[in-house]
Amino acid sequence: MGIILKAENLEKVYKVGKVDVPALRGVDLTVQEGEFLAVMGPSGCGKSTMLHLLGGLLTPTKGRIIVDGEDLTAASDAKRTDIRRRKIGFVFQRFNLFPTLTAEGNLRLAERIHGNGSDDPDRRREILRMLKLEDKMHHKPLELSGGEQQRVALARAVVNRPAIVLADEPTGNLDTENSALVLKMFRDLNDRLNQTIIMITHNPEAAAACQRIIQMRDGHIV
């Protein structure tokens, strides 16, 4: 198992008017391939900022991020988008599915964005079977429960075999039963597909499902 993600001395300062607001103050993080990592900490500690930086949605004020051998921080915006497309899968608290598309449509969209050669029906079927979504593929998001929507979002995130899945409080909008179900799916993906997952959570039970937990406070990993 090698290192799949490495962040060095990561800093992020937001400009709010004329005021500098530091969100990250020098974060170092190394994640091994196949690791299931939980990130915990109080609101405003910089968890989401770190996740957005690791996924290339934001650029750091200082520091370096290497994802699967590619330097995200040295890349142009277009190159960063390309790295994100090939190597990162996102799962959000609010599911963020396209409401006009069916569950299958959401997956196919991800495949189209990923590009030619990514349409892998066997992979799609395997993911759908694992996430118990075979009979939900022709439903639109509003016809699905919250747990089902999040499973579709998870399927969409992993369908193109990303190096890392970044999940931002994926159980935050779910009841206990659905949270447990979605967490089990994360674990299954990690166990069976050796999928690397970094998951932000406030839920200690969710964090307990992970192999490693890191705590953040005031822009630092503690």
């Binding site: 497309r85 963020n96 006009t100 598309l101 969209l109 964005i113």
Partner: protein, 365 residues
């Protein structure tokens, strides 16, 4: 449903329909304006080409698009004496405000000699004799003007239809030359004299006769018939420019409607664009998705626009007699305008969407 473009169009049917109608409006305007111009021009050309005289004799400065009766009918006899001239028929063409088209025309002729020269025949009734009698062509008769009915000319003055002739030639209504001279208070005058040549088989022979007329009756204007009856576009110098401006405006209308629709769409879908960005969609991908949606809307607008133009043209023709002739070239122009207008209109909102900050877009409520 796994196509983002189609699903987005179906998601907001009212807005999509308004956008389609916006494009359709531009296409319909282009088709109707150009169809009307071409239809009326071709109709006049066709009627003019049925005048069998080869030469028109008139005074310098006489306008083809306005009434003039400044040529003495004494020239008729002088023309007949010139070698190569078979017959000469004086005509007064009078333009007057009328109906929806805004202007109509009537001709004063000596019916028998005019009919003989132009090879037209009465299919009903007889030629005009009294000053309040007219003959009309079949097109005008088909608008509820049978023989014996009254037709208002020159405003409110009633004229009795005494005959219907075919084929159509020149103005659709003709009265006697004397009646027209009285009406215009121009006794002994006409607008032009139609000259039929003897055995003129080639244009060179016609030109030779015209040259002789010019030599023997100098100071007048001698033209071949084909040059005298220009198309509407040529006789009204600003019409071509006016049409181009209308076409341009139609393109702007289409583009603005699509731009507004796509701008609204993108504002509503800001978070979805954030999701696309999080999924790794490039700027080009996002722009192309929005452009594809705009083009799909524009294409539907095209089809609706063509259908509306055909329906409106048919309805207006039935109600007013105006003639529409839809040409392939203008249909192609309208199609390009509709599609290009839609694509250009969508480009700014598409580029704006592609440049959205993904984190800000994802946080959009």
């Amino acid at each position: 449903m796994d196509n983002l473009v189609i699903s987005n169009i179906r998601q907001r049917p009212l807005r999509s329909a308004i956008s389609v109608l916006g494009v359709a409006l531009g296409v319909t305007l282009v088709m109707l304006f150009t169809g009307l111009s071409r239809g009326m021009s071709d109709d006049l050309q066709k009627r003019s080409s049925n005048v069998r005289a080869e030469i028109i004799f008139t005074r310098p400065g006489s306008m083809t698009g306005a009434t003039s009766a400044n040529l003495s009918t004494k020239y008729v006899d002088l023309l007949k004496k010139i070698e190569g001239v078979e017959s000469a028929v004086p005509v007064i063409r009078h333009f007057y405000p009328s109906g929806v088209w805004g202007v109509d025309q009537v001709e004063g002729v000596d019916w028998d000699s005019f009919a003989q020269m132009s090879n037209i025949r009465l299919i009903q009734g007889r030629g005009p004799k009294a000053i309040d009698e007219i003959v009309i062509d079949e097109t005008k008769a088909s608008r509820n003007h049978p023989v014996g009915s009254l037709v208002k000319l020159f405003g409110e003055k009633d004229f009795k239809v005494v005959g219907i002739y075919a084929p159509e030639s020149g103005a659709r209504a003709k009265l006697t030359l004397e009646a027209m001279q009285n009406f215009l208070e121009a006794p002994g005058k006409c607008s032009y004299i139609l000259v039929k040549c003897k055995n003129c088989k080639s244009q060179a022979e016609q030109i030779a006769v015209a040259r002789r007329i010019n030599e023997q009756l100098p100071g007048n204007k001698v033209q071949l018939t084909g040059e005298f009856f220009p198309s509407i576009e040529n006789s009204i110098p600003g019409l071509a420019i006016f049409m181009r401006i209308l076409v341009g405006l139609a393109a702007v209308v289409s583009a603005l409607v699509v731009m507004l629709a796509m701008h609204t769409t993108i504002t509503e879908r800001t978070r979805e664009i954030g999701i696309l960005k999080a999924m790794g969609a490039s700027r080009v991908y996002i722009i192309s998705e929005i452009e594809r949606e705009a083009l799909a809307i524009s294409f539907m607008g095209l089809l609706v626009g063509f259908a509306l133009a055909a329906l409106a043209g048919f309805g207006i023709h039935k109600a007013t007699g105006l003639i529409f002739e839809f040409g392939g070239w203008w249909a192609l122009t309208a199609a390009i305008i509709g599609l290009a207008g839609g694509a250009l209109g969508a480009f700014y909102p598409a580029a704006r969407a592609a440049n959205l900050d993904p984190v800000t877009a994802l946080a959009y409520e």
